[in-house]
Structure formats: structure tokens, C-alpha cells
């Protein structure tokens, strides 16, 4: 039997605000004393009133605008009830029927369009650490610092068909979040969490309609599985691949499938059963009576829109079209906003002397070949780098020597322009006695001279190399070659 894989992704992203979603407690809980960022609102003391954070909602809108969503003009909050120690109120303030952003899309590098159903605003829950043992004294330790941190949930339609596209989508969402400073989106720190919904269906027995998977004829759809606890982008792909294989095997062995939530175990590379999934009815959603309806004007949306910047996929297209940069280089350079802006500024600087396209390609070559490999936490001064690249382009320094100089300057904290000055002084001194050095090399290598004169032109490379070695690279190989040709006539 042949099956289709049907995947929808839910991605939670903690947005970067100073205060929590509904109270003024600080959000930065990482490595802080437990329960030190908690107030009556996020601890759910009776009578506490949640007051929505404007910036948090702006960041939710910004994510929606960056993913081509429609932004709602009225914002409603709802209560989602479930009973768990990490949720002090007994419900989470979320959005049910009316999310802030809806009907968006993202185009993956391979051209596939992932449709986004909604992006809604909610609040994070507390962090619980479980201590289980074989005895009856199992317990959990709860830290409410994370409770109430702004969280957005991005929900795709079940339109993804393979694990690689799911991974690419998650990568792109993370990139957008970082580019727009919506979130640091570090999955290891829990700032971004991916939960794929996966099912497999018999080929040709189902259809997708308005973002719903519907059976054809008398076919009964197989239930879906939700996978939680995925701690990295690569695990998104691995967990889906594991789950598809597991579901296929169960189906073929005639085992009944049940709708369930499973957890990814990164040590064993398997998913494990957690619970049978609760339905929307079980959450007993109701409108949040403590928060008024928020009226959003088109001017408000326009103001948020002004925070949009050119996004990675737009940069990649521009680099490739305008400057003939390879797709691979364009992707690497635009991966972070910092690298992309370094590249663009370097290109601008080099354009003062070079053709824009040549400047871009030179900048890309140097970043990909040298700078990214050398750069640690210290950024290479762009003026110095452009100076070095220009010296190379003018043929005053070899690429090898230039790279060596760059490396030396970074690791030994030297000034590139000083080093270049020194190098040029040496070069001009050498230029004076380069004739002498060439003569010396010829005298020391009579066999090479005979070979060359006898028609073995390849010997020229050897002779040039000898001269370059003696001048410690401080001469232009082309000049050396010309002098050699002259003297060997």
C-alpha cells in the first residue's frame, strides 16, 4: 500500500519584550532565581487583572506581516482550560476563533509554498522539573518565572508532505523571527518550540479542502499524532521521519492507530507515548471577560509594517539577480541579518572602486572563503578588509599573503592598515633589488634555466615560486614572471 504523509506544524515562539504578556514582571528568566519574576497576575492570585502588553501584540502582528497574513482589526482573547501545575490560573489566556493573524504563507527555498492558517497570541506556562523515582514520592518543582511570558503560536495548514519541507519551514520561521528581532528563537533555550502533527493516508483516498484533510468515498481517515519536546531544528526532521516509519509499520501490521501526543526522545532518537490527545471541547474555551476587545486601526498596522526589513528570501533573490551571486553563497550570507548587512556594506565600500557586480562577487568570495572562517566573536573592520581586498585586486598582494595577514591581525590584535603599510614598504624595497634576487635564483638553479631554455615552459612556475619565497611573498608574481622572461631571453 502506498501512503501520503500529511504534516501540519505548530510553532511556538517567545517574543522579545521587557515585561510579561499580561503583567509588568520582567521576562528574562534564564538562569534567574526561581520564582523571583512573579506577581499576583502571573501567579493567578484571586482578583488580579491581566493587562495586555502592546509591544507583544505588535511583535505578533510583525510576524504575521512578514508571513503575508491578514491582520485582524479587532483582537479577542479566550480562556483555554486545562488543569496542570504549570498553569496557575487553571486556564491559559489564548485566542480561539479570532487570531491576530490569519491566512499567510511562506515560500521555501525549493519554491514550495507553506500556507499559514493563523498566528495567535498567548502566554507561556511555568517551568516544571519532574523528579520521578520508583517510590511513591514522585514530585515536581515549579518555577513561575516563565509563566506569562508572551508566546505566539504559528499554525500551518496540513499542507506539508515531507520532513525536509517541515524542517525548512521551521528554519525560515526562526530566521524571520531573528531578522525582525521578534525573538532570539533559540530552540535549546525553549524560545522556539516545534510541534508537528503527522498522519499518513492511503494515496488517492483523501483530499485537502480549505486547509482540511477530508476522506474520499467510504475511506476512513487515519488519526494524527502530535509530537512534542523537539529541541532542535534537525530533530524536527528526524522526529517526523521516525513517526512516518512507525505509523506505516503499525498500519501494515494491522495495528489500530489512535490519536495521541508523543514526545521526542533526543537521546534514543525515538518518539514515546505521552497521552491520548484532548479535543478542543475538553479545553472548554470561553471569551476572556477580563480583557476588552482591542480595536486595531489600519494606521496601527501600517506603523508595525514600517518595522519590516528585507527578509532573507528577498535578499537571496536580489543577490542572485543583481550580482550573479551563487544560490549557495547568497543563502549562507543572508542566513543572519548581521552577516547580510556586513556583506552589503562591504559591497558598497568596494563599489567606490569596482563595478557593483565585481564588488559584490569579491565581497562574497572573501566572506565565504576567508572572513567567515576567521571571524570569532570579533568583527573584522570593514575599512581594513576593503583596503586589503583592493590591494589584492590591484595585484599588490597575493590572496594567500592577504589571508595570512588577515589571520595574523585577528589573532594577534594587529592593525591591518599598519601591516599593509609595512608590507608595501618592504615590497617597494624588494622591488629595487628584485632584479638581484631573480639573478641569484637563476644562478642557483642552472638546471631549471637549461630546462626552460630547452623548451620546458613549466619550469617558469618553479622559478617564480623560488623568487616569491625569497621575497616572502612581498612581490607580485606577474612582475616576477616578466622579469624572468626578460632575463632568460
Amino acid at each position: 500500500m502506498e501512503y501520503d504523509t500529511i504534516i501540519g506544524l505548530e510553532i511556538h515562539v517567545q517574543t522579545k519584550t521587557k515585561s510579561k504578556m499580561f503583567c509588568t514582571c520582567p521576562t528574562g528568566y534564564f538562569q534567574k532565581e526561581p520564582n523571583s519574576h512573579v506577581c499576583p497576575v502571573c501567579m493567578a492570585l484571586p482578583g488580579a487583572l491581566p493587562v495586555p502588553n502592546k509591544r507583544a501584540i505588535e511583535l505578533c502582528m510583525l510576524m504575521g506581516l512578514a508571513t503575508n497574513c491578514t491582520i485582524a482589526n479587532e483582537i479577542f482573547f479566550d480562556r483555554k482550560h486545562y488543569f496542570y501545575p504549570d498553569l496557575p490560573k487553571g486556564y491559559q489566556i489564548s485566542q480561539y476563533k479570532n487570531p491576530i493573524c490569519s491566512n499567510g504563507s511562506v515560500i521555501l527555498p525549493n519554491g514550495f509554498e507553506v500556507k499559514i492558517e493563523r498566528i495567535h497570541q498567548e502566554e507561556d506556562v511555568a517551568k516544571s522539573t519532574h523528579h520521578t523515582s520508583t517510590s511513591e514520592s514522585d514530585y515536581s518543582l515549579i518555577d513561575y518565572n516563565k509563566s506569562g511570558v508572551p508566546l505566539i503560536e504559528i499554525v500551518t495548514k496540513p499542507c506539508i508532505r515531507n520532513a525536509k519541507d517541515a524542517k525548512d519551514f521551521a528554519t525560515q520561521i526562526r530566521q524571520i523571527a531573528r531578522y525582525l528581532n521578534i525573538s532570539d528563537a533559540d530552540m535549546e533555550k525553549g524560545q522556539m518550540r516545534c510541534e508537528p502533527n503527522i498522519s499518513i493516508q492511503e494515496k488517492g483516498r483523501w483530499e485537502e479542502k480549505d486547509g482540511m484533510i477530508l476522506p474520499l468515498g467510504d475511506y476512513k481517515l487515519n488519526p494524527k499524532v502530535e509530537v512534542k519536546n523537539i529541541g532542535s531544528i534537525t530533530a524536527v526532521e528526524k522526529a517526523i521521519e521516525f513517526e512516518v516509519a512507525r505509523l506505516t509499520k503499525d498500519l501494515e501490521e494491522g495495528k489500530p492507530l489512535i490519536q495521541q501526543t508523543r514526545g521526542w526522545n533526543a537521546n534514543k532518537n525515538v518518539t514515546e507515548f505521552q497521552r491520548s490527545k484532548e479535543t478542543a471541547d475538553d479545553y472548554r474555551y470561553m471569551p476572556e471577560p477580563d480583557i476588552p476587545v482591542i480595536e486595531v486601526s489600519n494606521e496601527d498596522i501600517e506603523r508595525v509594517k514600517s518595522e519590516l526589513v528585507e527578509l532573507p528570501h528577498e535578499k537571496i533573490a536580489r543577490y542572485m539577480n543583481d550580482w550573479d551571486i551563487s544560490q549557495y553563497a547568497a543563502e549562507v550570507i543572508s542566513a543572519s541579518r548581521k552577516d547580510a548587512s556586513y556583506f552589503e556594506n562591504l559591497q558598497k565600500l568596494l563599489s567606490e572602486k569596482l563595478e557593483p557586480k565585481v564588488a559584490a562577487q569579491e565581497a562574497a568570495n572573501w566572506l565565504m572563503g576567508t572572513v567567515f572562517a576567521l571571524e570569532g566573536d570579533k568583527e573584522i573592520d570593514m575599512n581594513d578588509l576593503s583596503l586589503l581586498i583592493m590591494k589584492f585586486k590591484e595585484g599588490k598582494i597575493t590572496k594567500g599573503k592577504a589571508e595570512e595577514m588577515l589571520k595574523d591581525c585577528i589573532s594577534n590584535n594587529k592593525d591591518i592598515s599598519d601591516e599593509l603599510d609595512m608590507f608595501e614598504k618592504e615590497s617597494s624595497q624588494n622591488a629595487g633589488n628584485i632584479q638581484d634576487i631573480v639573478k641569484e635564483v637563476l644562478d642557483n638553479n642552472p638546471k631549471a634555466v637549461t630546462d626552460y631554455k630547452g623548451g620546458k615552459e613549466a619550469t617558469m612556475g618553479f622559478l617564480v615560486g623560488q623568487v616569491m619565497q625569497k621575497t616572502k611573498g612581498a612581490s607580485n608574481p606577474n612582475d616576477v614572471k616578466n622579469i624572468l622572461i626578460e632575463l632568460l631571453k
Partner: protein, 97 residues
């Protein structure tokens, strides 16, 4: 039966004995029946009564001092090293730890 009391109790992690279930079910049904008269009211032409606020009037993102850890934990029945301590395995769920 208009309400599944057992299921509702389970959602709130409350264990009911068969006796309690038998006692509470008719009580809750009576409550729901009494309240259900509201369902019959025709509200088609009635605007929902909801307070409105303009986006720009929302709270600015400024953080303020929270309660102290001591204050936060004052009412906690069990605590350990600054955490609230909860006993029992919570319905077999595995959260990230």
C-alpha cells in the same frame, strides 16, 4: 444525561467515587437545566456587550519589580530551594525538564 460529570471531573483531575458521581450528576443536571433557559432567549438582534479599548491605549512594555521569592512562596504548601513543590506524578505526562 446532559453532562458527563465523570469526564468533566477527570479534566479537572478530580477523582469521584461512584457514590459521589451518583449524587453530583443529578445536582449538576438541575443547575444546567435552570441555566439553559438563557439558551432560549433570541439574541440575534442584540449586539454583544463587550468593552473596547484602542490599540494605542494598551500598556506600554515596561517591566517593574516583582514580588520577592519569599512573598511568592508564602502560601505554597510545599517548597524546595525556591521552587513550589508538587507531589504526585501528574497524569503520566512528560514535560521538558
Amino acid at each position: 444525561m446532559i453532562i458527563d460529570v465523570k469526564h468533566t471531573a477527570e479534566l479537572s483531575r478530580i477523582t469521584l467515587t461512584p457514590e459521589e458521581l451518583e449524587k453530583f450528576t443529578p445536582q449538576m443536571e438541575t443547575i444546567l437545566e435552570s441555566v439553559s433557559v438563557l439558551q432560549d432567549v433570541d439574541t440575534d438582534s442584540v449586539q454583544p456587550m463587550k468593552a473596547h479599548v484602542k490599540f494605542e491605549e494598551l500598556r506600554e512594555d515596561i517591566s517593574q519589580e516583582s514580588l520577592t521569592q519569599e512573598e511568592v512562596l508564602r502560601n505554597a504548601k510545599h517548597k524546595e530551594s525556591g521552587f513550589v513543590k508538587v507531589y504526585g506524578k501528574v497524569f503520566g505526562d512528560i514535560e521538558e525538564s
